[in-house]
Amino acid sequence: MYNFDFERPKSVADAVKALQTEEAQPLGGGQTLIPTLKQRLAMPSKLVSLAGIDEIKGVCKDDQNRLCIGGGTVHRVIAEKAMSEGFPGLTGLASKIGDPAVRNRGTIGGSLANNDPSACYPAAAMATGATIVTDRREIAADDYFKGLFETALEEGEIITEVKMPIPEASAYMKFEQPASRFPLVGVFVARFSDRVGVGVTGASESGVFRWTEAERALGSDFSADAVKGLSVPADGMISDLHGTAEYRAHLVGVMTRRAVAAAQ
């Protein structure tokens, strides 16, 4: 790693101040950032650990039936709490990220801020129409994800909370790249009273997306059959050593149908 200064603020306000230094970077659980630093793919001048900020940890439900997850909450806790708040799709997602050691440290804020094209949470955020709350504003999921590793976050902006509307039914189907357990394709399906959301991660060269054609079909008929004839074009899907674009496009359809079946 290149050298860096280090700060461990106790409040969001202190963290924001610390991040005003040029090339300063927030550190969540470190499960992605530390390997990145070790490979010297990033060289922040300063790391600002958010792990000591209690005000951004925790999970609760608000009066709009949204699950409010502190940005500094680890995956393990999210999986546990989502289950008790009636959101099994999110439990299924969070409990399968990486492995147990990763789930003890990795945070939702860190994951969303990084926006790895193969991260799981973006699919849930898009499907549920979540709101990403930062130290300075609120951003709708549709406006938040901008492309591979790109988000709407400004320099020094911290995710303090994610507000996810709790669907009536939900499921996450992940086709794992077996070595890393990242999704080759991951589909999150969320059924609300007035709409259905289908978020797809791991597949597209433009990052996470909503499969709107499937959403419409499922809106009138929430069944696997409703999406049977639908497919996404291979053009624009990621082709890499783990799978071709055609394979990914094919899997999007399969995983969507399975997620719908699991959410019944």
């Binding site: 050298n3 200064d5 470190g30 790391l47 147990p100 070595a179």
Partner: protein, 165 residues
């Protein structure tokens, strides 16, 4: 700047001056604190050989910056056997042939201790396997490892499970 951290390491309070903010817990243990029991298999958090317990929870020590551990309680493989008596998980690993070359063993054992403390896998082999899935064993001692975790789970009462973490 010479930051320092105060933590509890295998039951002992320690103040450690860090000459470099980049040092991971793994490198601190192996290179500065003469505790080479925790192994470096990949240094990327992908093999589990470096598993230790931080505040009773298992983490990959190669992905943990030492600086973030101020105030934490750390348990490594060297800290498991109390006064020369092997921990039930250690006993179970010997009884069940849960290793061949032994290199992944400290990480497996710490991960098993953490898993048992979580209290959710019970002695269900499938949940144990899933719960241990972050610890690779190239020699494939998985069967012995699963049996060892089952054994240890059974022999440890709920009271002891908390002590272990």
């Amino acid at each position: 700047m010479s930051p320092s951290i105060s933590l509890t390491l295998n039951g002992e309070a320690r103040d450690i001056a860090l000459d470099d903010p980049r040092v991971t817990l793994l490198d601190l243990l192996r290179e500065r604190l003469a505790l080479p029991g925790t192994k470096k298999g990949c240094d990327r958090g992908q093999c589990g050989a470096c598993t230790v317990l931080v505040n009773g929870r298992r983490v990959n020590s190669c992905l943990t910056l030492a600086l973030t551990l101020d105030g934490a309680e750390i348990t490594t493989i060297e800290g498991l056997a109390a006064d020369g008596t092997l921990h039930p998980v250690q006993e179970a690993f010997i009884e069940n042939d849960a290793f061949q070359c032994g290199y992944c063993t400290p990480g497996q054992i710490m991960s098993a201790v953490g898993l048992i403390a979580e209290g959710r896998a019970g002695d269900d082999p499938e949940r144990i396997r899933e719960g241990m899935s972050g610890n690779i064993c190239r020699c494939v001692a998985y069967h012995g490892i699963t049996l060892a975790v089952q054994d240890a789970t059974r022999s440890m009462t709920p009271l002891k499970k908390e002590d272990a973490a």
